[in-house]
Symmetry: C2
Subunit: 202 residues, 2 copies
Protein backbone atom coordinates (compact mmCIF):
# COMPACT_ATOMS: atom_id res chain seq x y z
CA UNK A 1 0.00 0.00 0.00
CA UNK A 2 1.37 3.34 -1.02
CA UNK A 3 -0.80 4.79 1.72
CA UNK A 4 1.18 3.08 4.44
CA UNK A 5 4.45 4.46 3.20
CA UNK A 6 3.14 8.02 2.96
CA UNK A 7 1.52 7.78 6.34
CA UNK A 8 4.81 6.74 7.91
CA UNK A 9 6.66 9.58 6.18
CA UNK A 10 4.15 12.23 7.23
CA UNK A 11 3.99 11.04 10.81
CA UNK A 12 7.74 10.68 11.16
CA UNK A 13 8.32 14.16 9.76
CA UNK A 14 5.91 15.56 12.30
CA UNK A 15 7.33 13.73 15.31
CA UNK A 16 11.01 13.99 14.39
CA UNK A 17 10.58 17.71 13.87
CA UNK A 18 8.80 18.19 17.17
CA UNK A 19 10.97 16.13 19.48
CA UNK A 20 14.08 15.41 17.47
CA UNK A 21 15.22 12.33 15.62
CA UNK A 22 17.00 10.36 18.31
CA UNK A 23 14.46 10.80 21.12
CA UNK A 24 11.56 9.74 18.90
CA UNK A 25 11.18 5.98 18.79
CA UNK A 26 9.87 4.09 15.80
CA UNK A 27 7.26 2.68 18.10
CA UNK A 28 5.89 6.16 18.72
CA UNK A 29 5.82 6.78 15.00
CA UNK A 30 3.99 3.58 14.14
CA UNK A 31 1.52 4.09 16.96
CA UNK A 32 0.61 7.57 15.69
CA UNK A 33 0.54 6.39 12.08
CA UNK A 34 -1.43 3.29 13.02
CA UNK A 35 0.79 0.91 11.11
CA UNK A 36 2.87 -2.10 12.08
CA UNK A 37 6.44 -1.79 13.27
CA UNK A 38 7.78 -4.16 10.65
CA UNK A 39 6.22 -2.05 7.92
CA UNK A 40 8.80 0.64 8.60
CA UNK A 41 11.63 -1.78 8.04
CA UNK A 42 9.93 -3.23 5.02
CA UNK A 43 9.50 0.13 3.32
CA UNK A 44 12.66 1.90 4.47
CA UNK A 45 15.06 -0.65 5.93
CA UNK A 46 15.98 1.24 9.07
CA UNK A 47 15.23 4.29 11.15
CA UNK A 48 18.10 6.14 9.56
CA UNK A 49 16.94 5.34 6.05
CA UNK A 50 13.49 6.57 6.98
CA UNK A 51 15.05 9.88 7.90
CA UNK A 52 16.94 9.85 4.65
CA UNK A 53 13.77 9.29 2.65
CA UNK A 54 12.11 12.07 4.62
CA UNK A 55 14.78 14.59 3.72
CA UNK A 56 14.92 13.43 0.14
CA UNK A 57 11.22 14.08 -0.28
CA UNK A 58 11.50 17.81 0.33
CA UNK A 59 15.14 18.55 -0.46
CA UNK A 60 14.63 18.58 -4.21
CA UNK A 61 12.33 21.57 -4.14
CA UNK A 62 14.71 23.61 -2.02
CA UNK A 63 17.67 22.60 -4.15
CA UNK A 64 15.92 23.58 -7.35
CA UNK A 65 15.02 26.99 -6.06
CA UNK A 66 18.52 27.53 -4.75
CA UNK A 67 19.99 26.57 -8.08
CA UNK A 68 17.58 28.75 -10.03
CA UNK A 69 18.43 31.75 -7.86
CA UNK A 70 22.15 31.15 -8.25
CA UNK A 71 21.91 30.90 -12.02
CA UNK A 72 19.87 34.06 -12.17
CA UNK A 73 22.48 35.87 -10.08
CA UNK A 74 25.29 34.58 -12.24
CA UNK A 75 23.52 35.66 -15.40
CA UNK A 76 22.89 39.12 -14.00
CA UNK A 77 26.46 39.52 -12.82
CA UNK A 78 28.18 38.41 -15.99
CA UNK A 79 31.87 38.33 -15.17
CA UNK A 80 31.62 40.50 -12.09
CA UNK A 81 31.49 38.94 -8.63
CA UNK A 82 28.04 38.53 -7.16
CA UNK A 83 27.33 40.57 -4.01
CA UNK A 84 27.81 38.45 -0.88
CA UNK A 85 24.44 39.40 0.47
CA UNK A 86 22.69 38.25 -2.69
CA UNK A 87 24.42 34.89 -2.52
CA UNK A 88 23.48 34.33 1.11
CA UNK A 89 19.90 35.29 0.32
CA UNK A 90 19.84 32.91 -2.60
CA UNK A 91 21.00 30.10 -0.38
CA UNK A 92 18.97 30.78 2.74
CA UNK A 93 15.68 32.26 1.65
CA UNK A 94 14.37 29.18 -0.18
CA UNK A 95 13.97 27.61 3.23
CA UNK A 96 11.33 30.20 4.08
CA UNK A 97 8.68 28.74 1.83
CA UNK A 98 9.18 25.29 3.29
CA UNK A 99 9.18 26.69 6.80
CA UNK A 100 5.81 28.29 6.27
CA UNK A 101 4.13 25.16 4.96
CA UNK A 102 6.10 22.56 6.91
CA UNK A 103 7.81 24.15 9.91
CA UNK A 104 8.62 20.77 11.42
CA UNK A 105 10.67 19.83 8.41
CA UNK A 106 12.94 22.84 8.74
CA UNK A 107 13.39 22.18 12.42
CA UNK A 108 14.29 18.61 11.62
CA UNK A 109 16.93 19.61 9.09
CA UNK A 110 18.50 22.03 11.54
CA UNK A 111 18.44 19.51 14.36
CA UNK A 112 19.94 16.67 12.38
CA UNK A 113 22.60 18.95 10.96
CA UNK A 114 23.47 20.21 14.42
CA UNK A 115 23.41 16.81 16.07
CA UNK A 116 26.07 15.59 13.71
CA UNK A 117 25.19 12.10 14.85
CA UNK A 118 24.17 11.08 11.40
CA UNK A 119 27.27 12.37 9.73
CA UNK A 120 26.60 13.38 6.20
CA UNK A 121 22.90 12.62 6.01
CA UNK A 122 22.07 16.27 5.52
CA UNK A 123 25.15 16.96 3.44
CA UNK A 124 24.22 14.15 1.10
CA UNK A 125 21.15 16.05 -0.01
CA UNK A 126 22.36 19.64 0.11
CA UNK A 127 26.10 19.44 -0.48
CA UNK A 128 26.17 19.62 -4.28
CA UNK A 129 24.32 22.93 -4.41
CA UNK A 130 26.09 24.21 -1.33
CA UNK A 131 29.42 23.67 -3.06
CA UNK A 132 28.36 25.82 -5.97
CA UNK A 133 27.33 28.61 -3.64
CA UNK A 134 30.59 28.35 -1.72
CA UNK A 135 32.55 28.60 -4.95
CA UNK A 136 30.60 31.69 -5.97
CA UNK A 137 31.07 33.15 -2.50
CA UNK A 138 34.80 32.59 -2.83
CA UNK A 139 34.86 34.58 -6.06
CA UNK A 140 33.13 37.43 -4.27
CA UNK A 141 35.60 37.40 -1.36
CA UNK A 142 38.88 36.76 -3.18
CA UNK A 143 41.21 38.45 -0.73
CA UNK A 144 40.52 36.31 2.32
CA UNK A 145 43.07 33.57 3.06
CA UNK A 146 41.59 30.20 2.24
CA UNK A 147 41.50 28.77 5.80
CA UNK A 148 39.78 31.85 7.13
CA UNK A 149 37.24 31.67 4.33
CA UNK A 150 36.49 28.02 4.99
CA UNK A 151 36.12 28.62 8.70
CA UNK A 152 33.63 31.35 7.98
CA UNK A 153 31.61 28.87 5.95
CA UNK A 154 31.79 26.61 8.98
CA UNK A 155 30.53 29.38 11.25
CA UNK A 156 27.68 30.00 8.84
CA UNK A 157 26.63 26.35 8.93
CA UNK A 158 26.52 26.44 12.71
CA UNK A 159 24.49 29.61 12.89
CA UNK A 160 22.14 28.30 10.21
CA UNK A 161 21.60 24.92 11.81
CA UNK A 162 20.95 26.45 15.19
CA UNK A 163 18.54 28.99 13.74
CA UNK A 164 16.55 26.36 11.88
CA UNK A 165 16.64 23.60 14.46
CA UNK A 166 17.17 25.28 17.81
CA UNK A 167 14.40 26.42 20.06
CA UNK A 168 13.67 29.92 18.80
CA UNK A 169 14.06 32.81 21.20
CA UNK A 170 10.69 34.09 20.09
CA UNK A 171 8.51 31.14 19.16
CA UNK A 172 6.20 33.20 16.98
CA UNK A 173 4.14 32.12 13.98
CA UNK A 174 5.67 30.37 10.98
CA UNK A 175 5.66 33.64 9.02
CA UNK A 176 8.20 35.00 11.49
CA UNK A 177 10.72 32.67 9.94
CA UNK A 178 11.12 35.10 7.08
CA UNK A 179 12.29 37.91 9.32
CA UNK A 180 14.57 35.56 11.20
CA UNK A 181 16.28 34.48 8.02
CA UNK A 182 16.71 38.07 6.86
CA UNK A 183 18.41 38.91 10.16
CA UNK A 184 20.66 35.91 9.71
CA UNK A 185 21.61 37.07 6.21
CA UNK A 186 22.51 40.52 7.53
CA UNK A 187 24.62 39.02 10.29
CA UNK A 188 26.44 36.57 8.03
CA UNK A 189 27.06 39.12 5.28
CA UNK A 190 28.92 41.33 7.72
CA UNK A 191 30.83 38.36 9.08
CA UNK A 192 31.97 37.24 5.63
CA UNK A 193 33.01 40.74 4.64
CA UNK A 194 35.06 41.37 7.78
CA UNK A 195 38.77 41.98 7.14
CA UNK A 196 40.94 38.94 7.76
CA UNK A 197 42.16 38.55 11.33
CA UNK A 198 45.80 39.43 11.91
CA UNK A 199 47.98 36.35 11.70
CA UNK A 200 50.27 37.62 14.50
CA UNK A 201 49.20 34.91 16.87
CA UNK A 202 49.44 31.43 15.41
Amino acid sequence: MVETKEKILDTAEQLFGEKGYAPTSLRQVIAAAEVNLAAVHYHFGSKEELLDALIHRKADGVNQERLARLERLEAQAGNRPIPVRALLEGFLMPMVGVAESHPQFVRLIGRVQAEGLLPGIVQKHFQPIAKRYIAALRRSIPNLPEPEFLWRVHFMVGAMAHTMGGTPIFPGPPEAFHGRMRKLVTFLTAGFLAPAGKPEEK
Copy 2:
Protein backbone atom coordinates in the same frame (compact mmCIF):
# COMPACT_ATOMS: atom_id res chain seq x y z
CA MET B 1 36.55 4.53 46.32
CA VAL B 2 37.20 7.94 44.94
CA GLU B 3 39.15 6.23 42.20
CA THR B 4 36.08 4.60 40.70
CA LYS B 5 34.20 7.86 40.46
CA GLU B 6 37.11 9.67 38.84
CA LYS B 7 37.73 6.81 36.45
CA ILE B 8 34.12 6.93 35.30
CA LEU B 9 34.26 10.70 34.82
CA ASP B 10 37.50 10.60 32.86
CA THR B 11 36.41 7.74 30.65
CA ALA B 12 32.98 9.21 29.99
CA GLU B 13 34.49 12.59 29.11
CA GLN B 14 36.76 10.88 26.63
CA LEU B 15 34.10 8.74 24.98
CA PHE B 16 31.28 11.29 25.01
CA GLY B 17 33.63 13.81 23.43
CA GLU B 18 34.76 11.40 20.74
CA LYS B 19 31.48 9.88 19.67
CA GLY B 20 28.85 12.10 21.22
CA TYR B 21 26.68 11.65 24.27
CA ALA B 22 23.70 9.78 22.89
CA PRO B 23 25.55 7.22 20.76
CA THR B 24 27.88 6.28 23.63
CA SER B 25 26.34 3.65 25.87
CA LEU B 26 27.06 3.39 29.55
CA ARG B 27 28.16 -0.15 28.92
CA GLN B 28 30.93 1.11 26.66
CA VAL B 29 31.97 3.55 29.35
CA ILE B 30 32.10 1.00 32.14
CA ALA B 31 33.93 -1.50 29.95
CA ALA B 32 36.65 1.04 29.15
CA ALA B 33 36.79 2.23 32.75
CA GLU B 34 36.74 -1.34 34.05
CA VAL B 35 34.05 -0.71 36.62
CA ASN B 36 30.63 -2.16 37.25
CA LEU B 37 27.55 -0.81 35.54
CA ALA B 38 25.68 -0.19 38.76
CA ALA B 39 28.57 1.91 40.08
CA VAL B 40 27.60 4.60 37.58
CA HIS B 41 24.11 4.78 38.98
CA TYR B 42 25.38 4.62 42.51
CA HIS B 43 27.67 7.61 42.05
CA PHE B 44 25.67 9.68 39.58
CA GLY B 45 22.11 8.39 39.47
CA SER B 46 21.67 8.34 35.71
CA LYS B 47 23.45 8.84 32.43
CA GLU B 48 22.23 12.41 32.24
CA GLU B 49 23.46 13.22 35.73
CA LEU B 50 26.82 11.75 34.81
CA LEU B 51 26.98 14.23 31.96
CA ASP B 52 25.98 16.97 34.34
CA ALA B 53 28.74 16.09 36.78
CA LEU B 54 31.18 15.98 33.88
CA ILE B 55 30.36 19.50 32.80
CA HIS B 56 30.30 20.77 36.34
CA ARG B 57 33.84 19.54 36.93
CA LYS B 58 35.37 21.79 34.28
CA ALA B 59 32.83 24.58 33.92
CA ASP B 60 33.92 26.38 37.06
CA GLY B 61 37.38 27.14 35.74
CA VAL B 62 36.04 28.53 32.50
CA ASN B 63 33.42 30.57 34.30
CA GLN B 64 35.94 32.08 36.67
CA GLU B 65 38.23 33.15 33.88
CA ARG B 66 35.32 34.58 31.93
CA LEU B 67 34.19 36.54 34.93
CA ALA B 68 37.68 37.81 35.72
CA ARG B 69 38.10 39.03 32.15
CA LEU B 70 34.75 40.76 32.17
CA GLU B 71 35.47 42.55 35.41
CA ARG B 72 38.85 43.66 34.13
CA LEU B 73 37.21 45.01 30.97
CA GLU B 74 34.56 46.82 32.98
CA ALA B 75 37.15 48.36 35.26
CA GLN B 76 39.21 49.55 32.29
CA ALA B 77 36.21 50.98 30.50
CA GLY B 78 34.78 52.91 33.41
CA ASN B 79 31.49 54.30 32.15
CA ARG B 80 32.26 53.89 28.47
CA PRO B 81 30.95 50.89 26.56
CA ILE B 82 33.40 48.01 26.17
CA PRO B 83 34.48 47.23 22.61
CA VAL B 84 32.45 44.38 21.14
CA ARG B 85 35.53 42.52 20.08
CA ALA B 86 36.97 42.60 23.59
CA LEU B 87 33.75 41.19 25.02
CA LEU B 88 33.63 38.35 22.54
CA GLU B 89 37.27 37.56 23.26
CA GLY B 90 36.59 37.58 26.97
CA PHE B 91 33.79 35.11 26.52
CA LEU B 92 35.31 32.80 23.94
CA MET B 93 39.02 32.67 24.58
CA PRO B 94 38.87 31.00 28.00
CA MET B 95 37.79 27.88 26.13
CA VAL B 96 41.19 27.75 24.47
CA GLY B 97 43.08 26.64 27.56
CA VAL B 98 40.62 23.84 28.18
CA ALA B 99 40.71 22.84 24.53
CA GLU B 100 44.46 22.44 24.65
CA SER B 101 44.50 20.23 27.72
CA HIS B 102 41.15 18.47 27.23
CA PRO B 103 40.01 18.77 23.62
CA GLN B 104 37.32 16.14 24.11
CA PHE B 105 35.65 18.22 26.76
CA VAL B 106 35.24 21.19 24.45
CA ARG B 107 33.87 18.94 21.73
CA LEU B 108 31.42 17.52 24.21
CA ILE B 109 30.16 20.93 25.28
CA GLY B 110 29.66 21.95 21.68
CA ARG B 111 27.92 18.73 20.80
CA VAL B 112 25.55 18.74 23.73
CA GLN B 113 24.72 22.39 23.18
CA ALA B 114 24.02 21.75 19.51
CA GLU B 115 22.04 18.57 20.06
CA GLY B 116 19.61 20.44 22.23
CA LEU B 117 18.34 17.08 23.37
CA LEU B 118 19.28 17.78 26.94
CA PRO B 119 17.65 21.17 27.05
CA GLY B 120 19.35 23.40 29.50
CA ILE B 121 22.09 21.10 30.70
CA VAL B 122 24.76 23.34 29.20
CA GLN B 123 22.87 26.53 30.02
CA LYS B 124 22.65 25.49 33.63
CA HIS B 125 26.41 25.79 33.98
CA PHE B 126 27.19 28.69 31.67
CA GLN B 127 24.05 30.80 31.62
CA PRO B 128 24.75 33.06 34.62
CA ILE B 129 28.04 34.33 33.22
CA ALA B 130 26.66 34.39 29.68
CA LYS B 131 23.90 36.70 30.85
CA ARG B 132 26.40 39.19 32.21
CA TYR B 133 28.27 39.20 28.92
CA ILE B 134 25.07 39.62 26.95
CA ALA B 135 24.11 42.60 29.10
CA ALA B 136 27.52 44.19 28.55
CA LEU B 137 27.26 43.46 24.83
CA ARG B 138 23.91 45.20 24.78
CA ARG B 139 25.42 48.33 26.30
CA SER B 140 28.04 48.31 23.55
CA ILE B 141 25.45 47.95 20.79
CA PRO B 142 22.68 50.22 22.04
CA ASN B 143 21.17 51.18 18.69
CA LEU B 144 20.12 47.74 17.54
CA PRO B 145 16.44 46.84 18.00
CA GLU B 146 16.08 44.31 20.80
CA PRO B 147 14.81 41.37 18.71
CA GLU B 148 17.60 41.77 16.21
CA PHE B 149 20.13 41.89 19.02
CA LEU B 150 18.77 38.73 20.62
CA TRP B 151 18.73 36.90 17.34
CA ARG B 152 22.38 37.80 16.85
CA VAL B 153 23.14 36.26 20.21
CA HIS B 154 21.29 33.20 18.97
CA PHE B 155 23.40 33.11 15.80
CA MET B 156 26.52 33.38 17.92
CA VAL B 157 25.51 30.40 20.04
CA GLY B 158 24.99 28.32 16.92
CA ALA B 159 28.31 29.26 15.37
CA MET B 160 30.07 28.67 18.67
CA ALA B 161 28.52 25.29 19.33
CA HIS B 162 29.26 24.10 15.84
CA THR B 163 32.84 25.32 16.02
CA MET B 164 33.47 23.61 19.33
CA GLY B 165 31.53 20.41 18.74
CA GLY B 166 31.38 19.93 15.00
CA THR B 167 33.89 18.01 13.01
CA PRO B 168 36.52 20.63 12.22
CA ILE B 169 37.28 21.39 8.60
CA PHE B 170 40.96 21.08 9.35
CA PRO B 171 41.44 18.52 12.11
CA GLY B 172 44.82 19.92 13.13
CA PRO B 173 46.52 19.82 16.52
CA PRO B 174 44.84 21.13 19.68
CA GLU B 175 46.90 24.33 19.49
CA ALA B 176 45.03 25.20 16.30
CA PHE B 177 41.98 25.82 18.43
CA HIS B 178 43.37 29.19 19.34
CA GLY B 179 43.45 30.40 15.75
CA ARG B 180 40.01 29.01 15.15
CA MET B 181 38.56 30.93 18.05
CA ARG B 182 40.25 34.14 16.92
CA LYS B 183 38.68 33.74 13.50
CA LEU B 184 35.33 33.18 15.13
CA VAL B 185 35.72 36.36 17.18
CA THR B 186 36.51 38.36 14.04
CA PHE B 187 33.50 36.93 12.27
CA LEU B 188 31.10 37.50 15.15
CA THR B 189 32.35 41.01 15.88
CA ALA B 190 31.51 42.07 12.34
CA GLY B 191 28.14 40.36 12.57
CA PHE B 192 27.20 42.11 15.78
CA LEU B 193 28.29 45.48 14.48
CA ALA B 194 26.36 45.21 11.22
CA PRO B 195 23.67 47.89 10.76
CA ALA B 196 20.18 46.65 11.57
CA GLY B 197 18.33 45.06 8.68
CA LYS B 198 15.63 47.17 7.09
CA PRO B 199 12.26 46.41 8.59
CA GLU B 200 10.48 46.86 5.21
CA GLU B 201 9.62 43.20 4.95
CA LYS B 202 7.96 41.82 8.04
